[in-house]
């Protein structure tokens, strides 16, 4: 099944070209040009990974990361930034980012990280299902 990803960046030209390149590599790509639009999409759909720009107007990547994790903690988020600093990277990872890359990101590396993020998400979702089943079994006393 194709990796389903959400690209979030306020630069529409970056979104256009990245989504075309990732789609050509077999991914199902949705885009959002603001944190607000991204949060609305996250409410409605599930994604294997979210590629999120760190610096955006109104709500930056770190704030968006926090907001997404609050709604959907299992979502895997890869932060992309024009100025990667160690402190920002540490802050992002502590808040639950899957990874942190500097723009312009190597597409092969990014694609690999997306595959890894999807695998990580599947482990989390399977654990959630397992926990739910155990709960049902305990309640039913089977």
């Amino acid at each position: 099944m194709a990796d389903k990803i959400l690209l979030v960046d306020d630069e529409s030209e970056f979104l256009e070209v990245m989504s075309e390149r990732l789609a050509a590599r077999g991914m199902q790509v949705s885009t959002a040009d603001s944190a607000e639009a991204a949060l609305q999409m996250v409410e409605k759909e599930s994604f294997d990974a979210i590629i999120l720009d760190l610096q955006m107007p109104a709500m930056d990547g770190i704030q968006t990361l926090k907001a997404i994790k609050a709604k959907k903690p299992e979502l895997q988020i890869i932060l992309l930034t024009g100025h990667a600093t160690v402190s920002k990277g540490i802050e992002a990872m502590k808040l639950g980012a899957t990874d942190f890359l500097e723009k312009p990101a190597d597409l092969t590396a990014l694609t690999e990280k997306i595959h890894q993020a999807k695998a990580q998400r599947m482990v989390i979702v399977e654990k959630q299902i397992e926990d739910k089943l155990k709960k049902i079994i305990n309640v039913k006393g089977w």
Partner: protein, 217 residues
């Protein structure tokens, strides 16, 4: 504790934040150029495998690369003008040029707060004897403060007003100015800067304006 005096530290911080902002914009333009170059490569690989690609798609990519190259060039020009502000410690400066540069430098910070900067230049270029980089730093501090007083989606006007013996550099439409603590600006560093430049800072909450007055040459 800083080993620099407050004015020097403010000047350095202004240099740092301005350079960082422009470099960020350059990175964004380069990232788009790089990805479009990669897309061209993707198309070539597809064509090698027998897929035909509409020539119009190549034109689209060429235009994108051209637009981003032009964008990056504009940023480099702005950075160059900024760098040359320190060529002379003091000189006769054209305030129209200085304020225009200030607004260019703050386009991204303003955009990040969803504020639109509007520039109103003087009809006749006002000339003043000043330290250009320090004055730009002082104006930068004023504009950074003014941005806090404008809600997202609004306009902040930066303009020049000529009076008999002085020029006022005004930051207008600051609808949230009365909500900001009056002692939050200027700080010790800005006071030192204003004193060194012999400029007078005024905040008029009712008029939704802050301004710097500088003696005209």
């Amino acid at each position: 504790m800083s080993i620099l005096d407050p004015m020097a530290e403010t000047g350095l911080r202004f240099f740092g934040s301005t350079s960082a902002s422009i470099s960020h914009e350059l990175k964004n333009a380069l990232a788009i150029i790089k990805e479009n170059a990669g897309l061209l490569n993707d198309y070539v690989n597809l064509m090698d495998r027998g897929t035909s690609i509409d020539p119009a798609r190549f034109q689209t990519i060429a235009k994108r690369i051209e637009d981003q190259a032009r964008r990056a060039d504009n940023h480099i020009r702005t950075l160059n003008r900024f760098a040359h502000m320190v060529d002379e410690a003091t000189k006769t400066a054209d305030l129209n040029e200085l304020v225009a540069l200030l607004v260019e430098l703050f386009q991204r910070p303003a955009a990040m707060q969803q504020v639109t900067l509007k520039l109103q230049l003087a009809q006749t270029p006002p000339l003043v004897e000043t330290a250009p980089y320090l004055l730009l730093t002082a104006l930068g501090r004023c504009l950074a403060f003014a941005l806090q007083a404008v809600p997202p989606g609004q306009i902040l006007q930066v303009g020049l007003l000529a009076r008999s013996h002085e020029i006022l550099i005004c930051f207008d439409l600051l609808t949230g100015l009365s909500n900001l603590a009056p002692d939050s600006f200027p700080t010790v560093a800005e006071h030192a800067l204003f004193a060194a430049l012999k400029v007078t800072y005024t905040a008029e909450a009712a008029a939704q304006r802050i301004s710097l007055a500088i003696a005209q040459r």
